[in-house]
Amino acid sequence: MMLHLLNRSPRSTATYQDVSEAFGSDDHLLLIEDACYAAQPSAGAALEPFGGRVSVLQEDLVARGLAKRVDPSVEVVDMNGFLALTETHERCVSWF
């Protein structure tokens, strides 16, 4: 069970592809910083490989004006939720 942290816009397609190659069936993906743009319904395909096991950081959504533009399949977590994800997942890897 691994937490994958991703901070790139979904237009960084190579990064999303590399994450998907390493994403296990128990893993979870957290979108932070410019990866928030991937949580919009219009970004669609970028998150397909992650089977709904995706969260996005509320504080970074709000700063970008995206709070009301989150696809319902993506869970919104705040900083405490981010920390909680690192508590429940023994390992956390960051993709950049």
């Binding site: 942290l5 901070n7 932070i32 910083e33 410019d34 504080e59 970074d60 900083m79 405490n80 981010f82 920390l83 690192t86 508590e87 023994e90 390992r91 956390c92 890897v93 960051s94 950049f96």
Partner: protein, 131 residues
Amino acid sequence: MLNYALLLHAAPYSHQAALSALRFADTVVANGHRMKTIFFYHDGVHNASALMAPPQDEVHLADGWKRLHQEHGTELLVCVAAGLRRGLLDVSEASRHGVMSHSLEAPFELTGVGQLVDAMLTSDRMITFAP
């Protein structure tokens, strides 16, 4: 209670990553965990500069890291090989390399990459923040 280590690769004031790491560290301690080590590598070493003078209405990143050390005992480890190349050095390295002055002071410490490996092995969690 878990021991956290952070690995920071990003320069201050160019990417959000340094702010993300500081914000995460604050959350770690606010929730009763131990923010044990922050390792500054790659362009992340610039976070340790004693010379930064950001505008008053912006976060002073070096002061933010120092506060973590003072209030929570967080180790602030700066990769010496990455730092020397980039002009981040303490008094003794400045004198050894004949550089006119230093830019790094306690509580930041210059260390080797071995300390990063050690931090990874001896912490419960290692989280990377990169540009």
